[in-house]
Symmetry: D2
């Protein structure tokens, strides 16, 4: 049977959506025109946050089991890219809020107290579901991030801390990557050798360069030795674990290796979508940071160095969180360990076939 006919306003439940704007300045007898803008901007943010959670949850779902269907990767990439697209629209939207001047904000600011954007539980859920850990968060006014949430919201936020985050799930999926060895080909060994060749060549180039003064040579060699140390830390699982223990890195050793493989051999068909997945995660993280940055600016512009509506010297805190609350930094920093394609060992034919499509490889076989 067919469904009953739909009417635009009913389908979108506009009765609820469009009756939910009640400026407090009017309620308390001093109507301020711009409070409506303040309300609608934040409501729009929250609707988009809900959409982001819808996408993140669906992607987490796909990665929950022990096996991720190859077709799912494509869908996951599309949805994560959608999240990034939404984020970029959200950041743009601050432009609208900024058409309100600080003086106009003052007209109703006091009525909002002590409500504050810090109380957006959906924003906390996004962070938690992506993988921001409680211990990685900066305290705000000596209180944990969820202190000013209602009890129901605290419960929501805390449950999201316990559930496996996208970071956890992608890490596990990376750890399962089967492509680090094919018969005789050992990715990690080949990569390590390639790095060593590259570093040797770099040293030679410096030492034999007749145009460099001794002082310049020393400086260049000292820079090179920093690079060498950096790679040394990558090649030692022990060192890696120390870094993780110190909080300097988070991604497991096995996952790090797989992520590097994917970055370096992304042109292989089977690694293409995984590459785009990692890129999408980095982009989401970057956009989240950009959002915090932009948010901090708006807050400072609106209230200067005053205390925020929630009793917070908000903008200073927000600025600190920009980098501190990043989640996928390890993926971001993988660029440190990339080497030029030309320095990479070529894949043996067998590996090429295994990473390719069935169709082509079969026909080649014959």
């Amino acid at each position: 049977m067919k469904h009953p006919p739909a009417y635009y306003a009913d389908y979108l439940q506009l009765d609820k959506i469009l009756s939910a704007q009640s400026p407090r300045s009017a309620e308390f007898g001093k109507p301020a025109h711009d409070e409506m803008l303040f309300i609608t901007t934040h409501q729009v943010f929250e609707i988009w946050f809900k959409q982001i959670l819808h996408e993140l949850d669906s992607v987490r779902e796909m990665f929950l089991g022990d096996y991720v269907d190859e077709k799912s990767i494509g869908v996951a990439v599309s949805r994560l890219n959608r999240v990034a697209t939404i984020q970029s629209a959200l950041i743009e939207q601050f432009r609208i809020l900024e058409t309100m001047t600080p003086l106009d904000f003052l007209e109703f600011r006091d009525f909002l107290s002590p409500a504050s954007g810090f109380q957006s539980v959906q924003f906390r859920l996004i962070e938690n579901k992506l993988g921001l850990k409680r211990q990685a968060r900066l305290d705000f006014n000596d209180a944990p991030y969820d202190k000013r949430l209602s009890e129901a919201h605290q419960a929501l936020a805390q449950r999201a801390e316990i559930e496996p985050s996208l970071f956890d799930l992608v890490e596990r999926w990376l750890e399962r990557t089967p492509f680090l060895k094919f018969g005789d080909f050992d990715f990690w060994r080949s990569y390590k050798e390639a790095v060593e060749r590259m570093l040797d060549r770099d040293r030679e180039t410096i030492e034999r360069n007749p145009t460099l003064s001794e002082a310049e040579k020393i400086q260049e060699l000292s820079q090179l030795s920093r690079t060498i140390e950096n790679f040394a830390a990558l090649f030692s699982e022990e060192k890696h674990k120390e870094f993780v223990a110190m909080g300097a890195r988070r991604l497991s050793y096995a996952a790090t290796k797989a992520a590097l493989l994917i970055m370096l051999y992304r042109d292989q068909p089977i690694l293409h979508l995984p590459f785009r997945l990692l890129t999408a995660l980095v982009e989401i993280d970057e956009s989240l940071a950009a959002w915090r940055y932009r948010h901090a600016l708006v807050v400072q512009r609106m209230i200067g160095t005053k205390i925020g509506t929630g009793g917070s010297s908000g903008h200073a805190y927000l600025k600190q969180t920009i980098d501190a609350h990043r989640i996928f930094t390890d993926f971001f920093n993988l660029s440190t360990f990339l080497i030029p394609r030309s320095a990479l060992p070529e894949l043996p034919a067998e590996a090429e076939r295994e990473l390719g499509f069935f169709y082509g490889s079969e026909s080649l076989k014959k």
Copy 2:
């Protein structure tokens, strides 16, 4: 007494806002992931439409009486610029919707029937309050624009047709402009003389140009004569009225003269904000057209040349409305009649003083 404390989620009525997304695909047993995106995108559009109406109504209010306070112009400009900023964010937002592919849309499209974006009464209100007239609208499927609205919505839309639109109000305000004459200075006569001098000079330049062949001269002179006719129509009130009667122009003769004065002498302090007001109106109109254009593209991309969810071959209609439904075209086209500042008659000192600030002019007097 102080107001009671506010909580973020209560203040924004998030219980209503975030519980208003009910995908029909799920309701009818075939949940389609992307329907949520479709719903939230449209809800966000509607929230912004409400904000736009809030701004437009407040500006219409300012222009309702017989006298517009000079300070109001500044506020009106800010609010109209805000509308344009919102519009530009709305247009950007189509990018989000476009992350949904046509095939994904197909998964739930049938459930929406016959709902359609044509049923957004707020969008109709925006058009009507700006000044789009019923008779200027293209019929859709041989039916007037409001046929598919609910009765309550039809009543709303029709009331907005009757109330003075922003176009009407600004036109009346322009007609009252007192600066067309100052003592001996008659703007319209001076402007007309300047135009005639300019056109004479242009003809001479062509005729005396030794590098032009006879054929080229004839072509350039024929172009010039088109320009001359154009201006002739501007200088004849009768001709202007004919154009209005034919629907080729809409703005009254008096308002047209005032608008030209403002465009040409916008550097005079008292004309600066009026100039920015006219510019803002043109920008809003342009953005509305850009919205229709983008909307038409999305519709075509989603459903090709199929019939829309509301039984409409929507994109073709939408494309026709892009230009047909423009409202402030006459302001837009004023550029046709601008002449270079250097060709403009200088204002007499008295006029300069009257158009300037009190402060400076007083001190000059002494």
Copy 3:
């Protein structure tokens, strides 16, 4: 040996780049501040056009031979997406140009005559290399598009008409698609049957719907019969050829079938990147149209209905080209023929394996 050291300004040849702005208003003794903006905006457009050509040429190169390496598709998609990203930045850039008012433009407009944006040979090259055909172009002032180009530029533009365009190359590549049949699975037959089932069901649903009046049934059935005709034209190669001959369609029958296969089965690993390739082409075409639209607006805003700097009533012409000069319309309109995934015949296991990765399929075999 190592390369010699580079200096930023030398590497970027800033001596040339930054010495190439010579306002004619200054040269002829009437310096107009805003002419610099006019020059730099157009120079930036041209630099980006060069970059777009660099990308398009590299993609055309990849598709020139009889066989396109699967790895190339990923690279092609990235580069075409880059083109779309550049286009979207270019469109945004009109915002900068629009900070110049029509009156400011008037100050130097005459000095530019008869130069005109129509003389941008790089823009013509982009259109030609994408696949815009001379016969599809609207004449401008009764003259072909390249009439006002210098001879050298005409030669360039005409060579690009003869060389295989991206449209041609992608069409040929689609025609070679080997996946239309696998053993017993015949895509076209299955698809046709699915369409027929869907249309039958639609008719039944209408006929048996007790809530519809007879008049409504007739209307819905008449809409349905239009849809049926539409599909009939798709299933008849003869009809298709007629459409091509009339200019209503351009893409060959074989390529159309392959494109539909790709759209419908894009979740199959081997079809994922081809799907993204087609999407990228549609997006580039759409952005080109958006550029023309925005360009037309700016021109109208600057000069009203006057004749353009090149003697053209430019904006009217530009508006007509928006749709008329589109190239990948047939891909755009494929949405017309999509059917829901649920209505699609499932692929037989053999086909699934052939369209998947070697790795997984091998392990399944065992």
Copy 4:
């Protein structure tokens, strides 16, 4: 006499513009496709930098003398808004550069050494002309900012340090503001009284609030006392000078007062454009910071924690400069000292007239 005809490509000097891209990777025998993108992106940046300098210089020119014509303020605002529009397009443009992956960058990165964006003399000129002081700059690798510039470029940068910056010129212009007193009306005294009334009321509200616990009262009062101190520092010229000496503030006391007057009474016609001028400066400064932020992200994404092409650990340095190199912070922070319009003393009629237009005020007089 008429000027000679112009041809598009000649006018824009496209022979120079389009022949200035010479990838070093090709020159040294290892052509990398993406180097072209790297070159064109940076060239476009530099063209826009030139345009920004063109605007900044013209605005500085207007403010050089002892008297700034009121009409100039409108022009200055338009040009500074244009600068902000350009900046926002520049920031968007990083999206294009980000279509290049780190691995693709590696293909030609070594050939660029030791060239670096730090060597963009135009960017340094923009900073210097806006008002960034040498002593406010963070050292980079223990070297002053201009160390790695060529001698000619150092000379240019240093000359711009000596010339009056936009900050200096606007500060002087503010110091000359004549509106701080009108007859009996003393802005500073009235404002101070209004602030004291507001703070008193705030204290009372807290003390008399029956719903607050003692602990909460103490906390709220301690926050209030911080606000009181803040204002105290504003009302003491001595304190202000100490802050300036310490580098915590930069804007002179007189200019600070004038800037506050403008912010608070911006609705007065004569203060409207000055208000928009200050807003434009804040926006430019903010966009410059946003640019640095985005730049730092791109650098980190491209090269991770490696050393930059110019031997720099660039991204860390860039991040530090985001806030450290801000110039108009004092304007930005004025929001701290705004008070609601309702708390502001009303202007006496005489003052209202002096701040208004001549036209209206004259007619009122009669």
